[in-house]
């Protein structure tokens, strides 16, 4: 569920520091008296290509309201990379509002955002836990070449990128065990490998 509440700038006089006891963990600024007897808690605003995302909660005198993720100014085009970052951001806020990761996070919401919103490479579509706790493995989309075996069976070979941020990723070849290909299939696979290598170095394809 999304709401579309526009939050005034932080300099607004109505904004005060969060009251530690009553605020939800994500709250970095809240407004009291927006409506009589109501307080609005807002996380730090995070922005991806003009799309602003935040976690919000309305509290009333009767108790805490539902936590929601707010998406603002979405009426514009975003690139594929920006869309991936936006999806990561939304996923983060969903976890924040569900309280999944609050205790292990840095003290402020801004720090949480800096720590958890990944600065993905353009080829990354999936993030997985790395070999150690502080690592995140980034995996690219599989690109396939269909192959024809001698006996008419069809198979395929997948090529993808995977690696850690700041390092040249590895190229993964899957399904290549004992795979016969027509010359055309083989050339297509070679082109895929070259394209993956160029992508790994950040070169135009």
């Amino acid at each position: 569920m999304y709401c579309t509440i526009t939050v005034p700038p932080a300099a607004d006089a109505a904004i005060s520091q969060p009251a530690a006891i009553t605020c939800p963990p994500f709250c970095s600024q809240h407004l009291e008296g927006v409506e009589p007897g109501r307080a609005l808690h807002v996380s730090a605003l995070a922005e991806v290509a003009g799309v602003v995302v935040s976690a919000e909660r309305f509290d009333t005198e009767k108790g805490a309201g539902d936590q929601v993720v707010s998406i603002q100014s979405l009426d514009q085009r975003v690139t594929a990379t920006e869309a991936r970052r936006l999806a990561a951001l939304l996923n983060l806020f969903a976890k924040v509002t569900e309280g999944e990761s609050g205790s292990s996070l840095p003290a402020t919401t801004q720090q949480r955002l800096a720590a958890l919103v990944p600065d993905c490479t353009p080829w990354c579509i999936v993030e997985l836990p790395g070999d150690t706790e502080d690592q995140t493995l980034h995996v690219g989309n599989d690109k396939h070449v269909h192959t024809n075996s001698f006996d008419g069976e069809r198979g395929d070979v997948a090529v993808s990128l995977e690696g850690y941020i700041g390092q040249v990723p590895n190229v993964r070849v899957q399904g290549a065990g004992d795979t016969p290909m027509t010359p055309g299939d083989a050339l297509a696979l070679a082109q895929l490998l070259v394209a993956a290598a160029r992508e790994a170095y950040g070169l135009p394809r």
């Binding site: 995977e162 070849v173 065990g177 004992d178 290909m181 083989a186 050339l187 696979l189 490998l193 070259v194």
Partner: protein, 113 residues
């Protein structure tokens, strides 16, 4: 199945290893293996990607279609793993091997046509 018999001569310039299958008379041609080392991510597992051109000819002399075989053989598994990680340089080396094999196979097909 009877063991293949090594043929004595082959006219194909790319063929380095061919056999005659005594069961059906097929003549199986294969080029030399081109091996590219691969490393598994985050471990010491070693793989070798092998690229080879193959063609089966009929006993009556009809030539079959040449194909490129890519095998990823390796190391600790002692068989054929589902996949392997390569550095970018290894991937480029593999692509060159595949492309060269494909051009060879395509040339063979063109000659047949």
């Amino acid at each position: 199945m009877t063991a293949p018999v090594l043929a004595t001569a082959c006219a194909e310039p790319w063929c380095d290893n061919h056999h005659v299958d005594p069961d059906d008379g097929l003549v199986m041609h294969a080029s030399s293996d081109v091996a590219v080392p691969m490393t598994a991510g985050g471990s010491a597992e070693q793989y070798v990607a092998v690229v080879v051109v193959e063609r089966n000819d009929e006993p009556d002399g009809d030539t079959g279609s040449a194909k490129v075989r890519l095998e990823v053989a390796g190391g600790m598994f002692g068989g054929l793993p589902k996949g392997g990680l390569m550095t970018v340089e290894q991937a480029l080396a593999l692509s060159r091997a595949i492309e060269q094999a494909a051009r060879t196979a395509r040339f063979v097909s063109a000659v047949k046509a």
